[in-house]
């Protein structure tokens, strides 16, 4: 199977660590990622209005391109995952949106949502399998108490994203367990970090991040993992000094556990405990 890969704007620049570790791990685990040529930005937020056609085109082009290359599209960024899955759902279910997008893009074979959009974590869970992953770990993260931060964009709305139970997700905890770490479950792991409000309302962002970090520290998490560059930024840059914990991309820990060296060194690595 060809694993077409959609990195998205942030993974090509500010979140290189998330991207590079993922490519190295995927190759090692037998699903090498092949970057989709000429992909465009997904728009970062899903356009909710049914008349927002132009805002859906970046995602639609990627979905159509993936359809023509085997039909699977893997992504890593929570926001890209969210936008791609929801636009794909629109194109499968909403006739008006589908017709307008196909007409505008002059698609030879009209696109009807055929592409299967997968988050990298879904490939790990459903195609590699966590039992198999655990066997492939050469440098287990034994004794490390790590909390998973899901945020919003991986989980909700769960009817469309179908990623995990939106109120009690298990995927990242099972992932941590496979790496040999001790997953820490805390109440705020699926609450919002306020996302782009970091720009327009930094005070609100700091407040929400404070609550998330307090919840994680109350359960004795020594570090957090996330799949989202913006969540990671907020949890690091908008944390109060006394609350700071190392925040890694999940792929950085995966690379460590598989004994892989990647170019981009994780920020704040080794600062746990």
């Amino acid at each position: 199977m060809l694993y077409n890969y959609y990195p998205g704007c942030t993974l090509s620049t500010k979140a290189k660590a998330l991207d590079q570790a993922a490519r190295a791990c995927a190759a090692k685990l037998g699903f090498p990622l092949v970057e989709l040529p000429e992909w465009q930005c997904c728009g970062a937020v899903y356009p909710l209005a049914p008349d927002a056609i132009a805002e859906r085109l970046g995602a639609a082009r990627a979905l159509i391109s993936a359809r023509d290359k085997g039909g699977v599209l893997v992504t890593l960024c929570s926001a890209c995952h969210h936008v791609l899955k929801r636009v794909n759902d629109d194109l499968a279910r909403d006739e008006e949106i589908r017709n307008k997008v196909n007409a505008y893009l002059e698609v030879k074979e009209p696109y009807q949502g055929e592409t299967k959009v997968l988050h990298f974590l879904e490939v790990l869970r459903d195609q590699v399998g966590f039992a198999k992953l655990a066997q492939l770990v050469t440098h287990p993260l034994t004794g490390r108490k790590i909390g998973a931060y899901y945020g919003c964009m991986l989980l909700r709305p769960s009817k469309v994203l179908a990623f995990d139970d939106p109120e009690n997700p298990q995927l990242l905890e099972n992932f941590l367990q496979a790496l040999g770490a001790t997953p820490v479950r805390y109440g705020m792991r699926n609450e919002c970090c306020t996302g782009y409000m970091a720009v327009t309302n930094p005070g609100l962002c700091k407040q929400m991040v404070g609550e998330i970090l307090r919840s994680a520290r109350d359960e004795e998490a020594q570090a957090l993992i996330t799949a989202c560059p913006l969540c990671r930024y907020n949890l690091v840059a908008n944390a109060a000094p006394e609350q700071k914990v190392p925040v890694y991309y999940f792929t950085e820990l995966l690379a460590q556990a598989l004994g892989l060296q990647t170019e981009a060194a994780p920020v704040q690595a080794g600062g746990e405990g």
């Binding site: 942030t10 049914p50 927002a52 609450e191 306020t194 996302g195 327009t200 560059p229 913006l230 840059a237």
Partner: protein, 129 residues
């Protein structure tokens, strides 16, 4: 005049594209909203006001600019209503007017260089046209 109001209400409902009449005002959306404490019109009230066609109340609310589009309200609604979509309809109705952008791009001169691109793209999608 009445027709003009009705027209705007219908336009908002089309933009929101969610079954307002199914709402039972249980308030579960507002109870779980992470920014409800900042809102002048709570998510369940926003749905109610649009179902009632109370245009003036809706257009003067600042709640849509506090909403973070985290979709907790939509996911938890027992009736399949999306208050998040009503918030979006209200934002779009405002920013689709000429000169009504909510975020002044000049402020970006001072943004943190570490800020991920996705945040900037998101801000310009949500606050500006």
């Amino acid at each position: 005049m009445v027709d003009k109001v009705q027209e705007q209400v219908e336009a908002l409902r089309r933009l929101a594209h969610t079954p307002l009449q199914d709402c039972i005002q249980c308030g579960r959306c507002s109870a779980g909203c992470p920014v409800a404490f900042k809102m002048d019109l709570l998510p369940h009230r926003v749905v109610w006001e649009l179902a009632q066609g109370n245009l003036e109340t809706l257009l003067k609310a600042t709640a849509p600019w506090q909403c973070v589009s985290c979709f907790a309200c939509q996911n938890r609604c027992p009736r399949g209503v999306s208050p998040a979509a009503v918030m979006e309809a209200l934002r779009l109705t405002a920013i689709r007017q000429q000169g009504a952008n909510k975020y002044d791009a000049a402020q970006l001169e001072h943004f943190d260089p570490e800020l991920p691109q996705q945040a900037l793209v998101a801000v310009f999608r949500k606050f500006n046209k």
